[in-house]
Symmetry: C2
Subunit: 220 residues, 2 copies
DNA sequence: TTTGCTCTGATTGTATGTAATCTGCCCTAG
DNA sequence: CTAGGGCAGATTACATACAATCAGAGCAAA
């Protein structure tokens, strides 16, 4: 569905579309992005496409080299664990700030997401629910910069989370779901301390798990 | 001094120069940036200038509105305290990662910076030394993302740190220097825990101080 | 006097053309 | 057969031209 666009947001729209494609996995890390394809796909000139690529580059989703080209960004093991380390220190803080701002209905929705996740046996569905669970618990505080930073961390690590989920989905690790329910319970009791703590350990566990499994990067 | 530039870094160079001007205070928050001036100043066309502005926008130093113009970014009290809150959680972590990588010479240099800062009675000199002290304690770990994030936090808050220093420089608050020496001592003993903790409290005190003095924003 | 509209000048977004740079292949020398 | 240099093709950075949008001045009506 193409909506009417006003002058000046064509670059942003191309970026949004490309971002969505990258996050959905239709573009994979290391894959080359050809501006020519985008210009004809969006019926735009090279300049909005260029703007879009530079925007995504600033978000860390694209890497470009002068006079050479642009690729979907790749992460090394060290990069990935570094991003998780930052997440581990920022996201629990943001969650804490959200606790007093969430309604009971918001918490009910989180509960439903956690339940649905537990029953899900499809990787993509699990990923979507997991992302929705975490991000919707963070969007109530109007902290533009902290929120954007955390969102960026999620986006940059999205592909590797997908890969890890694919490889370990069969392993019946219940701790993830356990954490989610612990978080929901903490939210119900408005226990900021507990929510922050559980989320920090939750992310920390993911980080250690990832650093223990470098084979996730084999697909590169 | 103009060095020979290769094709493809003109935008980055304009951005670097503009960034330096903003950090030095030659551009003030809210001040309009006129692309026409930059094009003739750098003998470049509008496109590299545009690239530079978009790059600085992604760093949070510039705010631009479509079809309207670009200004040096301004921060509200809430924005500023939010940035300090993030700094408070990331910078001590980064410092900790640096501790085992610093040489005795590095620590000596920090000691000299702390001493010089204590004797300095000029605002600009103090600012330069303070920035140098903190950033040079962080540049040993090759953590591209975390380092860049922290550097960005310093840059975005630079002007308000200058303003706060101007207004409170006479107040003989020794705690800042005390913290710096505590940090140097912790580094000498390779006490990561202590270094991290002192820096966290150091930033936290600055944050609370700023939130208590909204008059810093009067000059806007 | 104040409020609202219109129009104009200025400024930016977009399109196209030109020049510089890089990658990969091919050829040659060892 | 291998390694190094150079050439060609492709791709991007930069310059210029044009179209769309916005802000403010000026005027008219209440």
């Amino acid at each position: 569905m193409t909506t009417e666009l006003s002058h000046g947001e064509m670059g942003a729209n191309i970026a949004a579309s490309l971002r969505e494609s990258i996050l959905a996995g239709r573009y994979k890390p290391g894959e080359r992005i050809k501006p020519a394809e985008l210009t004809e796909q969006y019926r735009a000139s090279r300049i909005p496409v260029r703007d879009a690529l530079r925007l995504l580059e600033s978000e860390g989703l694209v890497t470009s080299v002068a006079n050479t080209g642009a690729w979907v960004a790749t992460l090394s093991v060290d990069d990935l664990t570094e991003l998780y380390l930052v997440r581990e220190h920022l996201e629990p803080l943001l969650l804490r700030m959200n606790v007093p701002l969430m309604s009971d209905d918001n918490i009910d929705e989180l509960q439903q997401l956690a339940d649905a996740m537990e029953l899900s046996d499809d990787v993509e569905r699990f990923l979507r629910l997991d992302r929705e669970f975490h991000l919707s618990a963070l969007r109530h505080a109007h902290t533009s910069m902290l929120s954007n930073t955390v969102l960026g961390l999620w986006n940059r690590t999205q592909h590797y989370r997908r890969e890890a989920t694919r490889q370990f989905f069969t392993g019946h690790d219940r701790s993830v779901h356990h954490d989610h329910h612990l978080i929901v319970n903490a939210l119900r009791h408005r226990d900021e301390e507990e929510a922050e703590h559980v989320l920090r350990r939750h992310i920390r566990r993911s980080r250690l798990e990832l650093s223990r499994h470098p084979e996730i990067f084999a697909a590169t």
